[in-house]
């Protein structure tokens, strides 16, 4: 597998516990990933040993905290292969990143009668902010559908694009179907019409190395807690040329240059978009999380997770009468499924009794539920600290639960 599994498990002591008298099997990684010791230690360090507000003080702790915060920005810049550190904005998470663009970009560029394109497989966080922008500016939201196999119907993209299309927003990886979307192709098509593209990277950054310059995407958003970092911190990458002309999102401290009651001028990038005291502990710890996965190697992580995905998919199919939603060959370690006619709530409740954590419900993706005409789904999602032995426990649990109905 390219890394020592036992060593990895030692980095995540939280996994070594029992739930409902069974060894805990954590298969809800697409919702949030667990944090390795180095990240927890960093959070502790910048809570217990070092703490002062950033960018404001001349004293020792303020200088140290500011340096660590800005260093984290450099780590993210290198991680995404961005051209400049000014293009990396710290936010609260993917949701805020997308809202920032939907608010600020649309205020500058969206007018009555314009259009925005999203896809049918988006998380609500990449639908609702655009809907709200469309309402504000009397614009129209258009939707690129996906096939039953769980792949975007790329042949329809050109037919949706018009002269009024102002931005295309699409997930790199679907949080329900696991599909890795052909974003290179989408960006290429969009750019041939001079349309910028936002990529929702919440589900992709933990599994793949990203090069925003090679992709040539205009915006890329992701969350810290899905890549083994803390909650409440996220990233927005934006091309400098766009961020420069976009108006500020939130007003307050840090984002200003000079304030008078007559007129306020704004700070330069990236601070223009970071109003108020940021979650600097989260940002610093996110830097550690990124270094942690980089040290292991994202390619190794992706290869191992793919092995888990294949193993689980085969075992699950062998159970019979099990439907998997999303069967694209380009897929991350996410399996949404339905077992017999068992309701996902019942399945999730009983799996929990056997110590296995999965996600059930509508998965913040109502349009995906509607596509398959189901009211809810069960989702198992894997990380590189999971094992085939855990998948065996999961399969045994499914068999046992099935016998109860």
């Amino acid at each position: 597998m390219g890394f020592n599994f036992q060593d990895i498990r030692k980095d995540f002591p939280i996994l070594d516990q029992r739930v409902n008298k069974h060894p805990w099997v954590y298969f809800d990684n697409a919702a949030t990933a667990q944090r390795p010791k180095v990240v927890l230690e960093k959070i502790r360090e910048f809570s217990v040993i070092t703490n002062a507000n950033i960018h404001r003080g001349t004293h020792d702790h303020a200088i140290r905290t500011t340096e660590a915060y800005e260093n984290a920005r450099d780590i993210v810049k290198e991680f995404l292969h961005a051209e400049a550190r000014e293009e990396i904005i710290f936010t609260h998470g993917t949701t805020e990143s997308i809202n920032l663009v939907a608010r600020s970009f649309c205020e500058k560029f969206l007018t009555t009668g314009d259009e925005i394109i999203v896809t049918e497989m988006e998380h609500h966080a990449n639908i609702v902010p655009w809907q709200m922008a469309c309402e504000r500016h009397q614009a129209t939201l258009k939707v690129l559908p996906f096939s039953d196999k769980g792949e975007l119907r790329m042949e329809l993209l050109e037919t949706l694009i018009t002269k009024r299309t102002k931005i295309i927003a699409v997930a790199h990886v679907s949080n329900t179907l696991g599909t890795v979307n052909p974003i290179e192709e989408i960006i290429q098509i969009a750019h041939s019409h001079n349309i910028p593209v936002l990529i929702d990277g919440a589900q992709s950054v933990p599994h793949a190395s990203i090069d925003v310059q090679k992709l040539d995407c205009d915006f890329y958003a992701f969350s810290g807690h899905k890549i083994y970092g803390p909650t409440g911190i996220g990233i927005l990458y934006g091309k400098r040329s766009l961020l420069e002309v976009m108006p500020p999102f939130l007003g307050g401290g840090e984002m200003i240059d000079q304030v008078t009651f007559k007129k306020t001028t704004y700070n330069e990038l990236p601070h223009k978009f970071e109003a108020g005291t940021p979650h600097y502990v989260g940002a610093i710890a996110l830097g550690s999380a990124i270094q942690y996965v980089q040290n292991i190697g994202l390619d190794k992580i992706a290869a191992y997770e793919h092995q888990l995905l294949n193993y689980a998919t085969n075992q699950m199919k062998a159970l019979g009468d099990l439907q998997i939603f999303g069967e694209s060959p380009a897929k991350t370690g996410v399996i949404c499924f339905k077992l017999d006619q068992i309701h996902p709530f019942d399945l999730g409740t009983l799996l929990d009794q056997l110590g296995i954590a999965v996600r059930t419900g509508r998965l913040c993706a109502d349009p995906v539920m509607d596509h398959y005409q189901v009211t809810a789904m069960t989702r198992a999602s894997f990380a590189f600290y999971n094992s085939e032995e855990e998948i065996d426990l999961f399969i045994k649990a499914l068999q046992r639960i099935r016998s109860m109905f």
């Binding site: 068992i342 309701h343 996902p344 709530f345 019942d346 059930t360 419900g361 009211t375 046992r400 109860m404």
Partner: protein, 143 residues
Amino acid sequence: MTIEEVQQEIIADFSAYEDWMDKYTYLIELGNELAPIDDAFKNDQNLIRGCQSRVWLQQKLDGEFLIFEAESDALIVKGLVALLLKVFSGRTPQEILDADPHFIDAIGLRQHLSPTRSNGLMAMVKQIKLYALAYKQISSQKK
């Protein structure tokens, strides 16, 4: 039997099961036994929406007693619904308002009734109480 006696009976029934699996198997059994409500009543007006599962609840007054019928699309929830109906259906509005469904806690299924669980059960209890309050107000106006 009073509401309290019914609750004690349910607690006694469940005390026979030590293993969670038996407990849930019994709940699933109760769910399967619960008479389905007429599809016509499975409308938006009677729907108690949860992210996880859905519950439909409808009521009618029979003399001074409030009769409830309910169903869920999830079997475990349906089993719990059956228990709540046993406790609350066929009672006077005042009895319903005075009752606290403590049996859920006693049989070790409290997590299903916490306000953060989005399975619709908590909302169902609230809705039952609201109906009871409404009928109580109507009947006191008549007097």
